[in-house]
């Protein structure tokens, strides 16, 4: 049984904001299927009584003093931007027209 269809990969690519060519979609659907098949065993290993671990070292509420410290200048912060204007990141429009 196929775990993941070409349409599903296409939907996931949209969610992940990656345009994929038809070729890439074909190839990736097959590869992801093989990978998912191989990792599916994790579902059978642990029972309901096993707690989940998200992090290797147990840590809680790590904070540091809320103090003003030197930081990047606006020029430095913008130095890697594809486009900037008036000390701001210049971005394409964010709303649909209609």
């Amino acid at each position: 049984m196929s775990a993941i269809s070409r349409e599903e990969v296409s939907h996931l690519a949209m969610l992940a904001r990656i345009d994929l060519t038809p070729d890439e979609l074909d190839r990736m659907a097959g590869q992801l299927d093989v990978i998912l098949d191989a990792v599916a065993t994790v579902r059978e290993v642990a029972g309901d009584d096993v707690p989940a671990t998200s992090h290797p070292m147990p840590l809680t509420n790590v904070t540091r003093p809320d103090e003003v410290r030197p930081s990047l200048t606006p020029e430095q912060a913008l130095s890697g931007a594809p486009e900037s204007e008036q000390q701001r990141f210049r971005v394409p429009r964010i709303l649909e027209e209609d």
Binding site: T21, A38, V42, A46, S54, P56, P82, E83
Partner: protein, 508 residues
């Protein structure tokens, strides 16, 4: 003289600099010359920072001449993995999406290296965003294994490992999310250490999987790795997962281990990390290392970690999940390249982001982002990501039980020696299997080391021995590693790398 300098260990260089047998400028220049000579073939470096390295070296020479007290590795050059932000020096992570990005700040670990007055020779090649085990997934072309230029140097830190094996740097940095320091060390005959999670700050490291990533030292000897480990590790308020409290003296442990007495140490051989899936020559060298440990006075026992068989599956759900989230920041707005979609007038930010990521990310990165997006999506979350996190608990329990009976655990680092370039590129799963023995340590946060165990009989290529220790007991890696290294180099009559091809132009 120049060749000699590039073949010194970091410890020897540090000693010679302090005794003023040679200058820091001479040492840095020797390495830059060696890079010019051999790196065209090896391609370990993505960027060479010759001028700033020489400037650092000059300042060290001036300080030495003035009789100043300097840090232990002052004037010893280092190569830095391209995943670490370096102010004023390009940082690409081996990705086209970051082509030309020059960070406006230093990673904390780079800060520490600069405070240690170590000249940074350049940035080393890697699989894109550290996703891979061969360095073939770099957008800038693969690095070649100095032992055989037709083979992979491991990954993701193949560049760093190859600088050491081709003598273009005496030390290098790495990051290890599932084996990216240890597996390249194994297949290049070098030493690599993944410290306890949190021992080295992640601030300024481009994140792959935040709960697994850990930076560490790459070197040619166990002592050199310890010296660099000491520079890199330490609490950093800029990283909330940075360890606080006591941390062991790894340099002292390496020196003690070199004396060769492992009396009182119990070594556990992990039953699940060996056997049929491992190349015969790898198994043979591993078995010899076990005998050697016994001869050094260690008690060797077998331990079982049954959940390790599920580690690879859990890893390839947790890693893509975290990576898909971490890499969402590459949106073509604040840094990196921007690509406009073809044939679209006045595109939206979302369309620009999708077009940029199509061009900017390579196949493996796309594969893992989509896999992670799938594992985290509603309806699949519990079955995949949730289950993987439970496996993580089981793996931690296995480690805890094993460390009840053994002080350290050992296994082969990698199931095979270096494979030919291109061999596994179209078969992601077989590439993933390269990390089967290294992944459990990342899932549990425990430290691990790979060091040379010899050459496999069938192909004459390096085999790595992996040592694992409990969290915060990184010193045990160095104690046992140095003892194994001392015994093996005395048996071989010199370092394993003495047998690597010279790569010199005249010799080719």
């Amino acid at each position: 003289m120049a060749t000699e300098l590039t073949h010194h260990t970091a410890a020897q260089l540090a000693e010679g600099l302090r005794a003023q047998q040679f200058s820091a400028v001479e040492v840095t220049r020797a390495h830059l010359n060696r890079i010019a000579e051999v790196d065209g073939d090896v391609h370990a470096y993505l960027h060479i920072a010759g001028n700033t390295a020489l400037a650092t070296a000059r300042s060290v020479d001036a300080a030495l001449a003035a009789g100043e007290q300097l840090p232990a590795l002052a004037g010893v050059p280092i190569a830095v993995k391209d995943v670490m932000a370096t102010q004023g020096v390009p940082t690409t992570c081996g990705s086209a999406i970051l082509k030309g990005w020059v960070p406006p700040y230093d990673a904390s670990v780079i800060r520490r290296i600069k405070d240690a007055r170590m000249p940074i020779l350049g940035k080393t090649n890697m699989d894109e965003f550290a996703m891979g085990s061969s360095t073939e997934h770099s957008a800038y072309g693969p690095t070649r294994n100095p032992w055989d230029l037709t083979r992979i140097p491991g990954g993701s830190g193949g560049g760093s490992a190859a600088t050491l094996a081709s003598f273009t740097a005496p030390l290098a940095t790495g990051t290890d999310t599932g084996g990216s320091i240890r597996q390249p060390a194994a297949v290049t005959g070098t030493v690599g250490v993944k410290p306890t999670y949190g021992a080295v700050s992640r601030y300024g490291l481009v994140a792959l999987a935040s709960s697994l990533d850990q930076a560490g030292p790459c070197a040619r000897t166990v002592l050199d790795a310890a010296l660099l480990h000491e520079v890199m590790a330490g609490h950093d308020p800029m990283d909330s997962t940075s360890l606080t409290g006591q941390y062991p003296d790894v340099v002292a442990a390496a020196r003690r281990g070199a004396l060769g007495d492992l009396g009182g140490v119990t070594v556990g051989v992990v039953r699940e990390l060996g056997g049929d899936g491992y190349q015969a020559g790898v198994r043979q060298r591993f078995d010899e290392a076990v005998d050697l440990l016994t001869a050094a006075g260690a008690k060797v026992v077998e331990v079982s970690c049954p959940s390790f068989t599920a580690a690879l599956g859990a890893y390839y759900l947790i890693l893509p999940s975290e990576a898909s989230s971490n890499l969402a920041k590459f949106d073509a707005m604040r840094y990196g390249i921007r690509v406009y979609p073809k044939g679209v007038d006045d595109p939206t930010a979302e369309q620009v982001m999708a077009a940029t990521r199509e061009v900017g990310f390579g196949a493996e990165v796309k594969r893992r982002i989509i896999l992670g997006t799938y594992a985290l999506s509603s309806g699949y979350y519990d079955a995949y990501y949730g289950s993987a996190q439970k496996v993580r608990t089981l793996i931690q329990r296995d480690f805890a039980a094993a460390f009840e009976v053994a002080d350290v655990l050992i296994s082969p680092t990698s199931p095979t020696t270096a494979f030919p370039l291109g061999d596994k590129l179209d078969d992601p799963l077989s590439m993933y299997l390269q990390d089967v023995a290294t992944i459990p340590a990342n899932l549990a946060g425990v430290p691990g080391m790979s060091l040379p165990a010899g050459l496999a009989e069938e192909d004459g290529l390096p085999v790595g021995l992996q040592i694992l220790a409990p969290a915060r007991c990184d010193d045990r890696l160095y104690l046992v590693g140095a003892a194994v290294e001392a015994a093996l180099t005395s048996r071989w009559g010199g370092a394993l790398l003495d047998r690597a091809p010279s790569l010199d132009r005249e010799a080719v």
